[in-house]
């Protein structure tokens, strides 16, 4: 099948899923006992009339099903509505998504670049001291709670003063030149990326090591050795390529894990990403904002999965999609 047709089919196939996602999440949020207008109602300076207007503007006086259809209609026409504080959802969410994507892409890049060589070395020198240390370190990396690790890193940053304490930009960001801006952002990115990379790196290294171990035991690798090929050539040219395939499938899952794992890390580092936004939105029961970020989060997850499948097709010609 042509790759483009396949992509098209997958995207069409994801529409009913997104629809169910929206249905589930909308009704779940509407069950929430938090009143989105609680803050306004507590403020004595705000009149009854304003509150009534707000209720109508947010559609809170209508039954839930009607609220949902209104939301769906608006969402499909590209209008994500307004937040409780009357800013447009789309403007608020745009930067956050870019920030989260920036973070995730950096993490995926670094964890792959580091994990695959480590996994290969672990498998090739199976049961050596290096392999044992690697196993211990990777189990430790998988066990540490992301938020706790982030807290420890903040402590580290405070003690050494090498890195800024959270956020994405410095206070005087807008007065900087382009080069300074890039340096500033990368300085802020170091710690969150480090925390998330350590966590995803650990499981990736283990997967790579296990896959390569499986492949190294297979007949065709033994055959390649018997033919008299050099060890490095056998491993890099024959074994690694096959061991890589299951890892590529994991890429989609990894992306999903990142979106979830990043939420807590973003929260601790006060990083302005999607995870922190959705947390704030949930606390205020800001339905439009929660729905928009949920839908986009799910969309990103589905796209991640599709990308992983396509990548798999590109690397392994045997895979039929």
């Amino acid at each position: 099948m042509n790759t483009w047709v396949y992509i098209f089919k997958r995207i069409i196939g994801s529409i009913p899923i997104l629809f169910i996602v929206s249905l589930i999440s909308f009704f779940l949020i509407r069950l929430s006992p938090i009143d989105p207008l609680a803050q306004l109602k507590l403020n004595p300076a705000i009149s009854e009339e304003t509150i009534k207007k707000e209720t109508e503007r947010l559609g809170l006086n209508k039954p839930v099903i009607i609220q949902y259809t209104i939301w769906l209609k608006n969402f499909l026409s590209g209008n994500m509505g307004y937040c409780v504080d009357n800013t447009r959802v789309s403007t608020k969410i745009k930067h956050r998504i870019l920030n989260t994507l920036l973070l995730s892409v950096c993490v995926i890049f670094f964890s792959w670049i580091i994990a695959i060589p480590l996994g290969i070395l672990g498998a090739v020198y199976y049961n050596s001291l290096f392999d044992k240390i690697l196993t211990v370190l990777s189990s430790m990396g998988m066990a540490i709670p992301s938020f706790f690790f982030a807290i420890l890193m903040l402590l580290f940053a405070q003690k050494t003063g090498w890195f800024p304490l959270g956020g994405l930009t410095s206070v005087d960001f807008f007065e900087m030149g382009l080069l300074d801006k890039i340096i500033d952002i990368s300085k802020h990115l170091v710690l969150p990326v480090f925390v998330l990379t350590t966590i995803s790196l650990s499981s990736l290294t283990r997967q790579m090591r296990a896959n390569l171990l499986d492949v190294l035991n297979s007949e065709y690798v033994k055959f390649a050795y018997a033919k008299g090929l050099v060890k490095t050539k056998v491993i890099l040219k024959h074994a690694v390529r096959n061991a890589l395939n299951p890892i590529i499938t994991l890429l989609g899952f990894e992306f999903a894990g990142l979106l979830s794992g990043a939420a807590l890390t973003e929260y601790v580092f006060q990083y302005p990403g999607l995870g922190k936004l959705i947390l704030e939105a949930v606390m205020q029961s800001d339905i439009n904002l929660v729905m928009a970020s949920l839908m986009l989060g799910s969309f990103m997850l589905i796209v991640g999965n599709i990308l992983a499948d396509i990548l798999l097709k590109l690397t392994d010609k045997r895979v039929k999609i």
Partner: protein, 357 residues
Amino acid sequence: MIQGLKTSFNSLKKDKIPFCAFLILFTLYFLIIFADFFAIYPPTYANRSLAYQPPSNVYILDKNNKLQKPYTYNYTKTFNRETLSIEYKQKRDKKYNIKFFADGYEYRFLGLFKTKKHLIAKPDNCNLFLLGTDINGHDVYSRLFFGGQISLTIGFLALLISFPIGALYGGISGYLGGRVDKILMRIAEAIMSIPSFYLLIILSSILPSNMTSKERFALITAILAFIGWAGFSRVIRGMVLSIKNADYIKSIETIGAGKSRIILKHILPQTSSYIIIAITLSVPSYILAESGLSFLGLGIQLPDASWGNMLREAQEFANIIYRPWLLTPGFLIFIAVLSFNVLGDKIRDMLDPKTVK
């Protein structure tokens, strides 16, 4: 059965690292089962006037470097007018000997009988806080035990709900096939495609705030269970698809067994070794999810303790720098999860026939 357990325990003993993990977990669960015995203060103890007291140092040497019974000093609390902060200083005028196996607060030992015996009891008039206190004047040391009771059990309870549901759902979907399969799997896929932590946050925010702590515990467990079943059911469905074409299933069908009987008695038991592996490997993620949720204030809430909500104080930057003793629950989560991971790997190696020996 007992013989089988014995052999697997012996093979566990041979491997040092998984055996250590097993011992650590055994100790942790032992400590939380007898939490009241090890704790110094009752779970609800809070003394606001002693907020943020640093850990009481315990000494065993006196001034002349002679060995003594363990003793400690009290702190005095002063308000520093220049820095506008409360300072604690050790008052070295009176020693307090720490009492072992002595009387403390009254509790029910394992819910059976009332007793006052504790491993460590605080001397009269002494503010003994081995790991300091938090903002409400809770004793961090005692709460580690009570928090562990929640943090280390909630994952298991959630698994006990989510895995049967996932297995049944996947079994029905795989065995019936056709339109039922399509609809059921679309729903599972939809739940899987919401980033799980986002879903967790939303579900927890639904919970009303006026619940008793028991209700809250039960509902948080249910929420955690709700996240895991979908992915699991898909794997089970895949396995069922291949099992249902086996000859023995065909023969049972010809005899005329009902569908529910076939799924429950003949198909699902075939997946049991996978289910055991999946359970042991997913305990850690449930523990981490609970701690994350409680850390955000959406999980277990005060006055109840859990390791996650004890770490909530670490959200304030001043606390991390000046009161590092508040970070102890984090290390315990780390140790517990690490041990579960190591042990889970070992169990998988023992049960999975594919593993290279």
